[in-house]
């Protein structure tokens, strides 16, 4: 029994870690701007394409940092172009802008790639096979949870103990007051997008190593699931998002193990709806009072 479930559990933990890296981007942006960044999943896909094109001409050691850099630049530009002009606009407008940006990114990727699925390069080390008990899997499966936890701990330290981290926390509590206190909110928001995009880039390297092809719309689903993970953990809370992502990743694969593959996506959304109904602030979310 355990031996049968083991591959699914391993896949679950691995996918969970990848969702976690995306979910952190969602939860940080939501914490600060109260915006569901619908285009985050597409930034994640774009990172996949960057890797495809860069690995064609350079070794991994050069390509990987470049991918992160390019993805960060994309995230930064996205914020400046699509969200900054709408700072004073109603939340609905910003969300529509996010959907529009996601649409534009997808079409742009379709145009550049010609709409064909691109083979993701084999990353040395990560793609090697290993044997665990009765299950054979790729190294990436083992690396993902470890790397995820390390990155998130580093991020927590950044947020708790540095000046920019303090500024982020201040902005997420009260946008306007922190502005009055002399915090440059635009640079704080940009930093948030930079961190989120960098983590998404790392997540995409791990994710696509498992899935082997990249298409322009492939990021939409993991993006939505990562968002669900963020809500599940309590939006705005980074540890919550990580735990939520692992839970979703594992449950999803257990459902596949039970033979209901068609419902693995639906399950995620059912979970979302249940959480929103019974505990809208998620597992670790802060309570907010309704203001008139």
């Amino acid at each position: 029994m355990f031996n049968q479930l083991l591959p699914y559990l391993l896949a679950g933990v691995s996918v969970g870690g990848q969702y976690a890296l995306i979910a952190v981007g969602y939860t940080m942006v939501y914490g600060i701007l109260r915006l569901i960044n619908f285009a985050h999943g597409d930034v994640f896909t774009a990172a996949g394409f960057f890797m495809v094109y860069l690995m064609a001409s350079m070794p991994l050691g050069v390509a990987a940092p470049l991918v992160i850099l390019l993805t960060v630049a994309l995230g930064f530009t996205l914020e400046r172009v699509a969200y900054k002009p709408l700072r004073q606009a109603p939340r609905m407008s910003v969300m529509i802008s996010a959907i529009g940006a996601s649409y534009l990114l997808q079409n742009l990727m379709w145009y550049v790639t010609g709409g064909l699925a691109k083979q993701y390069p084999v990353l040395p080390l990560l793609s090697d096979s290993v044997q665990i008990g009765a299950a054979s899997t790729k190294v990436v499966t083992l690396v993902t949870p470890v790397l995820t936890v390390l990155l998130v701990v580093a991020l927590q330290l950044l947020i708790k103990h540095t000046k920019i981290g303090m500024a982020m926390r201040a902005v997420s509590v009260d946008f306007e007051t922190s502005q009055l206190m002399g915090i440059k909110i635009n640079s704080v928001i940009s930093t948030t997008f930079i961190i989120g995009s960098a983590l998404a880039a790392v997540g995409s390297m791990l994710y696509f190593t498992n899935y082997s092809t990249v298409t322009p719309t492939v990021g939409a689903m993991p993006g939505l699931k990562a968002f669900v993970a963020a809500v599940f953990g309590g939006i705005g809370s980074i540890p919550g998002a990580v735990i939520g992502a692992f839970i979703i990743g594992i449950c999803e694969n257990l459902i596949k193990a039970a033979g209901y593959t068609a419902f693995s996506d639906a399950f995620t959304f059912a979970l979302l709806i249940l959480v929103l109904l019974f505990r809208p602030t998620g597992l670790f979310g802060e309570k907010t009072a309704e203001k008139v």
């Binding site: 915006l35 407008s93 969300m95 068609a262 709806i273």
Partner: protein, 357 residues
């Protein structure tokens, strides 16, 4: 709402008749398969769906992203109940001809499509409508995805044909009026949009707008928040269901897989371009949107050589890039869209007022 004067009413009706006549005339001259007629039919279908979404998002202020799910229900109900009995064996080839052993007339099935979508919306609305703004958006999006998964479920195969195509049901070609395929979608969609307009200008419509502008104030004025929201949701989904059925008729085949969240986004963008809170804006924007994406921007997809000069950038996919960039410009810089919250027939009135002032 300003009451319409009698002349204004007569002019509106006359304009509508003129448009219908022109559409019919165009099809008679250009033939059914011309690009214009295809765009007109698809535009009419999307006009209804966009109007139904505007009722919810623009007039009631409920940011719902579940439209594709309810369209899916409408499309499937229509298709499942109208596939001719003798074709069942071919369509449901993997499920022994399916278990539904009767067929309904087209119009009845169309109505049923709306009703089933509305009933489902009533159920979904019970939990979901307690949520606010972006949580509501993501929950409705989630429900749409769940509906899509359930429809494709193998166990329901004898009814929904699983993830296989549904086909051979009556399409617009089987619904000719005066020998024209374009009039049927225009008529159905037109009647539904008029009903939506009448609703918006009724007491219910005023309650919807009150909720949009300020929930707490609306509640204080005696609007039953939950019941009114539920009503708006159910009615919107009823028309989304009919719209889905019309879309099925337009396409000739349906498959659950095509009703993804990107379809909802398309419709949302139409509503935004037309103006949140303007039904006529949604209608105009739907036709423009469909015409641009299917027809007018086609040339961007083809490589073009003038003399020896190879025009750069033009190749497959460029059309959608330009199109989505234009949409972004509208979203960012023309947030009110084409019409803002005005209706076409009120534009003139406002100008007169301004002059008088």
């Amino acid at each position: 709402m300003k009451r319409m004067s009698n002349t204004r009413k007569i002019v509106s009706v006359a304009v509508v008749f003129l448009i219908y006549f022109l559409a019919w005339f165009a099809e008679a001259r250009l033939g059914t398969n011309s690009m214009l007629i295809t765009v007109l039919k698809k535009g009419a279908v999307y006009a209804l769906i966009a109007a139904s979404m505007n009722l919810l998002n623009g007039f009631t202020g409920l940011f719902s992203l579940g439209q594709a799910g309810f369209m899916l229900v409408g499309a499937y109900v229509y298709a499942v109940f109208t596939i001719p009995l003798k074709r069942h064996a071919a369509v449901y080839q993997y499920y022994n001809g399916g278990i539904i052993q009767f067929e309904l007339p087209m119009l009845v099935a169309l109505l049923l499509a709306g009703i089933v979508a509305a009933l489902l919306a009533a159920l979904v609305g019970l939990p979901v409508l307690r949520l606010k703004s972006d949580y509501l958006a993501i929950a409705t999006l989630g429900f749409a995805e769940i509906i899509r998964a359930i429809v494709q479920w193998d166990t329901l195969g004898p009814i929904t044909n699983g993830s296989n195509l549904l086909k051979t049901y009556p399409t617009f070609k089987d619904a000719k009026i005066f020998g024209s395929t374009v009039l049927f979608p225009f008529l159905v969609s037109g009647v539904c949009i008029v009903v939506i307009l009448l609703l918006i200008n009724s007491t219910y419509g005023r309650a919807f707008k009150a909720i949009r502008d300020d929930e707490i104030a609306a509640e204080a004025m005696g609007v039953n928040l939950f019941r009114t929201k539920e009503l708006a949701f159910v009615i919107s989904c009823f028309f989304a269901g009919i719209g889905g059925a019309l879309l099925a008729m337009f396409q000739g085949t349906v498959q659950a897989n095509s009703f993804k969240s990107s379809m909802t986004y398309d419709i949302l963008l139409m509503v935004v371009i037309g103006g949140m809170g303007s039904i006529s804006g949604s209608v105009v924007a739907s036709f423009l949107y469909i015409a641009c994406s299917e027809w007018w921007l086609r040339f961007l997809d083809n490589e073009l050589v003038i003399g020896t000069f190879h025009v750069p950038l033009l190749r497959s996919g460029f059309r959608m890039v330009v199109f989505s960039a234009v949409i972004m410009v509208v979203v960012l810089f023309f947030r009110k869209g084409l019409m803002g919250d005005k209706e076409l027939w009120n534009l003139q009135l406002n100008r007169e007022r301004r002059l008088r002032r």
